[in-house]
């Protein structure tokens, strides 16, 4: 196997909790991401799933260097992004672009669509001639299924699905190698959602994009991704190839997540379900040892005493003392 495009090693993000107005003392930390490692191969789609507060969006934001990691390495094409500053960081960002969840708040309402899409080109000093840049923007609009003649319109003149297409056009304007899509379809209606998912798949095929796809909807992730990483409270619980994860989850948390998904497929409704009790504990004060032991049906003494390591077991990698057999 060739070198992965992206290698993340022991990535950590702690947000400090402070007390006091002038002299701010740190009294604790929200451990949003707490030691996450994974690889993404060139051209692959990696899914990141988990519940609210599991750290999936924080991880995405660190990869795009929108926030700085507390520690850890982000190697992109052999270069560590975590320490980059200034010009070098700007250059690296050309390769990594993001599509955001909310197509309403991620587009500036006072700018015309053309200028929203050309902004990355302007920032990176590409196609400085007005005509060439305009032509490129219209090409991009056409590519994502928008009418290029709508160049001069404002975001509010577009529907939610069309706005998300604008967000995608902006993200691919620089021909990035890595696209990070953070819940790109969760604000859209199902019939529109399918249009955007198909668009992302097409673009990936045509441009050879590598995609990190973040979603809470497990059936969308199953459709889009080659491999899936399940996160729980800032850590990776399990990473596995798509088919394995859905057919044979190793980690009890993955099993519980899958069981919780309501599904309109005949035969699946009405099945007996093992429901996960309670809520996700606070990431400011996560349970010791295995973070899932407080909600896990299989937990015993060792789970609250010793932290399980992410271990490889036939294709799947799971952090569990009592992995489920397939």
């Amino acid at each position: 196997m060739s070198e992965p495009l992206l290698r993340v090693t022991d990535l950590v993000k702690h947000f400090p909790i402070t007390r006091g107005v002038v002299l701010q003392r740190q009294v604790g930390a929200v451990r949003a991401v707490d030691g996450v490692s994974f690889d993404v191969a060139q051209g692959e789609t990696l899914g990141l799933v988990g519940e609210t507060g599991c750290g999936k969006s924080t991880t995405a934001r660190m990869l795009a260097r929108l926030i700085d990691p507390t520690s850890g390495k982000i190697e992109f094409d052999g270069e560590d992004l975590a320490g980059l500053k200034g010009r070098a960081l700007k250059d690296a960002r050309r390769q990594i672009q993001m599509v955001f969840q909310d197509p309403y708040s991620s587009l500036n309402p006072r700018k015309r669509v053309g200028s929203i899409i050309e902004e990355p080109l302007r920032i990176h000093g590409l196609l400085s001639e007005g005509d060439a840049r305009r032509k490129r923007v219209q090409e991009l609009m056409d590519r994502v299924g928008l009418n290029p003649e709508h160049y001069n319109r404002f975001p509010h003149e577009f529907s939610g699905g069309q706005r998300q297409r604008i967000g995608v056009a902006r993200a691919i304007a620089l021909e990035p190698r890595l696209l990070i899509a953070d819940e790109p379809v969760s604000a859209l209606d199902v019939s529109i959602q399918a249009q955007i998912l198909n668009l992302l798949k097409d673009l990936q095929k045509d441009m050879g994009l590598t995609i990190i796809f973040i979603a809470h909807d497990l059936s969308v992730v199953r459709h889009m991704c080659d491999r899936v990483a399940v996160m729980y409270l800032g850590k990776i619980a399990e990473i596995a190839p798509n088919e394995d994860l859905y057919a044979h989850p190793r980690h009890p948390y993955t099993e519980a997540l899958l069981a919780a998904v309501p599904s309109p497929e005949p035969g699946r409704a009405g099945r007996a379900r093992a429901l996960l009790g309670g809520d996700v504990p606070s990431p400011a004060n996560p349970p010791a040892a295995c973070r899932f032991h407080t909600r896990c049906a299989y937990a015993d003494a060792i789970c609250s005493a010793e932290e399980p390591l992410l271990l490889q077991r036939d294709g799947s990698v799971a952090a569990c003392h009592h992995p489920l057999s397939g």
């Binding site: 939610g160 198909n198 497990l218 809520d279």
Partner: protein
Amino acid sequence: MSAPLLQVENLSVSFNTEDGVVKAVDGVSWSIEPGQSLGIVGESGSGKTVGGLTLLGLTRSRRTTVTGRAMFEGSDLVSMDDESLRAVRGKGIAMIFQDPLSSLHPFYRVGDQIIEAIQVHSPTPKKVARARAAELLGLVGIPDPSARLDSYPHEFSGGMRQRAMIAMALSNEPRLLIADEPTTALDVTVQAQILELLDRLRRELQMALVIITHDLGVVAETAEQVAVMYAGRIVEQAPVNELFSHPMHPYTWGLLRSIPKLTGPRNAALLPIPGRPPSLISRPTGCAFAQRCAYAEDECRVTDPVLAATAQGRQSACLIPHERRMAAWPALAAGGTEADARKVVRGPK
């Protein structure tokens, strides 16, 4: 078959806006019996929420026109005066909403808000009401209920807030609970807990449940009957298993084919419904779905289909004979092309 608890007949709601008259709900009829559950599914703008709000008079204003009837225990909710409707609201029919954070008052303790809901409908001593509130929190599965009465909404997690909302809705033992997207803001594991709670309460309390959602999965898990809405109308209604195993309306087909599946083979591409819903201000003539429908013919753009009974107590609104539609679905469900299905639907020419 017992008498219906609520019978909605030909309900229409239109809003007079600067751009024109928006027909949000356009002649909808359904009914629900005591203890039953009905799911209303549809996309944004299909009129599913407006329909629910209108039953409780929450869309009443100078700019709104409501016609039709909604008979609840012998009286019509549409023509009822505000005072009498207030007595029904919360006591006869209760409603819970999507966002539990914005439906609870942030300044008041959760317990006080539930106590208020109890005292609005029946004069109850504070102590009794408080005990009842604790009992309700316990019923919806909040641990240590008497202590949590003194918590503020921000001290609750999203799932607990929705549980508190449900507790408040149950405080006057309504015969009908309308849940509008009750789990959309929640994580899947918490969603599963809330759906199970609603189902349990419906059985234990013999309370009818109308669940309004865009999520076909949620409907499949909670409803016995399902109504699919499109552009302000019901296009198909069926028992839940029938709907998912033999959907009859091309719009329902489109919805089911456009969602990725959790089991079975992965499709190379999803099959979205092209285009988007029509404007509710100038509804196209003929079938509202015709412009997005792969099976539409000239007649569909002229004649408006009515919701008509087909086999096994099901209803659908489509001009294509239902036997042909029944025959087309199995191939579509297996991922067949619309071109092949069109041959089945349109018959030999």
